[in-house]
């Protein structure tokens, strides 16, 4: 009985923590995924690595601007709707990715998140059928509340994942990709 109560308490606690996984808001009232990271990497290297991250994800990022200590880029993430094990795109979220570096630390934040729904077109492909984007902060009506909650959770998860990948890139020494030499076997010596 005691163990059952502990188990029940653990489940409730974990679900309570799960519910806390949501965006915080900035001073403008906009959702933001914000993080400050301490590092031993120099400022110039950080900016260079941030640029590398943007370039290596060119399908996700469009136009970028750069200064000697910052990089800003417009990004897009595709939101999927999952049915059992299969899924399909249900919309896209456009956002602004900001990065600033100082000696010994950097910060990045993802904000200005706006959702554009996809619809299936006549060829069976999911495409944006409107250019009207809805800010994620806008509370939907009761009829769409459930769908909106799913979208928010999915965006939060993808923004967190994007942040983790970004941090990995900034912690990694840049190595130029050199073409690997094809392995060859000498048939003369044996």
């Amino acid at each position: 009985m005691k163990y059952s109560l502990i188990l029940l308490f653990s489940i409730l606690l974990s679900s309570a923590f799960a519910q806390q996984k949501q965006f915080t808001v900035d001073e403008r009232g906009k959702y933001v995924h914000y993080e400050v990271v301490e590092t031993k990497v120099g400022k110039d290297s950080l900016v260079s690595r941030a640029e590398r991250f943007i370039k290596s994800n060119k399908k996700s990022f469009t136009k970028s601007t750069k200064t000697d200590s910052s990089v800003t880029s417009n990004g897009k993430m595709i939101i999927d709707k999952t049915i059992l094990v299969a899924s399909h795109p249900s919309g896209e979220v456009n956002y602004v990715f900001n990065f600033e570096a100082r000696e010994g630390k950097y910060r990045y934040w993802i904000t200005d998140l706006e959702y554009i729904p996809y619809n299936r077109n006549r060829y069976g492909n999911y495409v944006a059928t409107t250019n009207i984007a809805t800010p994620l902060e806008k509370a939907p009506g009761k009829l769409s509340a459930g769908t909106w909650k799913d979208i928010l959770e999915s965006v939060y998860s993808k923004a967190t994942s994007l942040g983790e990948n970004f941090k990995k890139t900034l912690a990694t020494v840049q190595v130029e990709n050199q073409p690997k030499k094809a392995q060859s076997i000498s048939t003369k010596k044996w």
Partner: protein, 338 residues
């Protein structure tokens, strides 16, 4: 023979090797289900456009299932439907007594580059504003332009994207709405897409060659413009001329839609449609006005609709079965997309 087998084996190995280097998307699965109730004011099926046929009956639309997969630059789409809208009321399956199913899309696509792609198979037609799937339409009933135009085209087409604002498609097709050609690959078609400003897209389409009635040429303009966040305007205009003055049709439909709440949009379809003269037989003209609401909750869309049609030649029926110039109906549909 050995050389041939070696060549095939070599090609297969190369294909596998190339395939391993390209990213693979997960299998996409989606679809829809729809059902409706319709009450015709003449108490009998009356308006001769596609689908929504049954009077005073809770009736079925179709179950539509779509699979898509992309591996590197190659992809396929397979879409199949079951139910009256996708079986007995679809053109290919009606010819087979409506007893099996209807392929909506079955094609393969290869992206040679970000700009150039080729597609081959059986595809939803590139002509017109409305489509078979209720998920793709705002109104639940369909227009005369939709009913009389092509539903699907089997063929091979190439699309070149000059930019996000301009693309061009050209292709060779079988006769309309057939899984396999009866008169060979007998049609040539093309589509110019332009997007002059953000939110406005226009398609200028042309298709000439064999059709279910003979040979003819159809020219079509399909466009929609999201003018404000709440207001969208769509337009479809088409002209179809059959060879040897054997008739054809011309028409225009306007689709204004206004979002009155987050989940509620009201829309009107106003249509003028004329069948052309065939020899000494004069053509006949229809006008139609359809008021539709879309009420969305998650994947479900409720579609209440009132439709009033007019034709001075009295092709409709009244309550007693006599000829009438006007016809009207109310319908309530539920469409679930997943």
């Amino acid at each position: 023979m050995k050389k041939l087998l070696s060549a095939i084996f070599g090609m297969a190995c190369t294909t596998c090797a190339l395939a391993q280097e390209t990213p693979t998307s997960p299998l996409e699965f989606s679809g829809s289900v729809d059902t409706y109730y319709k009450y015709d004011f003449a108490k009998r099926p009356n308006i001769p456009t596609s689908f929504v046929s049954d009077h005073n009956s809770v009736s079925l639309g179709m179950l539509d299932l779509v699979l898509k997969k992309k591996t590197g630059k190659a992809s396929f789409v397979g879409e199949i439907s079951f139910g009256p809208r996708g079986q007995s009321q679809s053109i290919p399956d009606a010819a087979a007594n409506g007893s099996s199913f209807h392929i909506q899309n079955l094609y393969v696509n290869y992206d040679f580059s970000d700009k150039f792609a080729m597609t081959a198979g059986y595809m939803g037609t590139f002509i017109g504003y409305e489509v078979i799937s209720p998920v793709g339409n705002f109104n639940y009933s369909t227009s005369y332009l939709f009913t009389n135009g092509p539903f699907q085209n089997a063929g091979i087409k190439a699309t070149y994207k000059f930019s996000d604002k301009v693309s061009l498609m050209a292709g060779l097709f079988n006769d309309w709405n057939l899984y396999s050609a009866t008169r060979g690959v007998s049609s040539v078609g093309g589509q110019l897409m332009i997007s002059p400003v953000e939110g406005w897209t226009a398609y200028i389409n042309a298709l000439t060659g064999a059709d279910p009635y003979g040979y003819g040429t159809i020219v079509d303009l399909t466009t929609s413009y999201q003018i404000t966040k709440a207001f969208k305007l769509g337009l479809n205009a088409a002209n179809y001329d059959m060879a040897d003055d054997a008739g054809g049709y011309a028409g225009v439909a306007l689709y204004p839609q206004v979002a009155v709440a987050d989940a509620v949009t009201l829309g009107l379809r106003g249509e003028y449609f004329k069948n052309k003269d065939v020899g000494a037989t004069p053509g006949t003209a229809y006008t139609g006005l359809t008021l539709t609401a879309n009420i969305k909750s998650g994947g479900l869309t409720f579609i209440p609709e009132v439709r009033l049609d007019h034709n001075g030649d009295k092709p409709f029926l009244n309550k007693t079965g006599g000829a009438a110039p006007n016809a009207g109906q109310f319908s309530l549909a539920a469409v679930y997309a997943f």
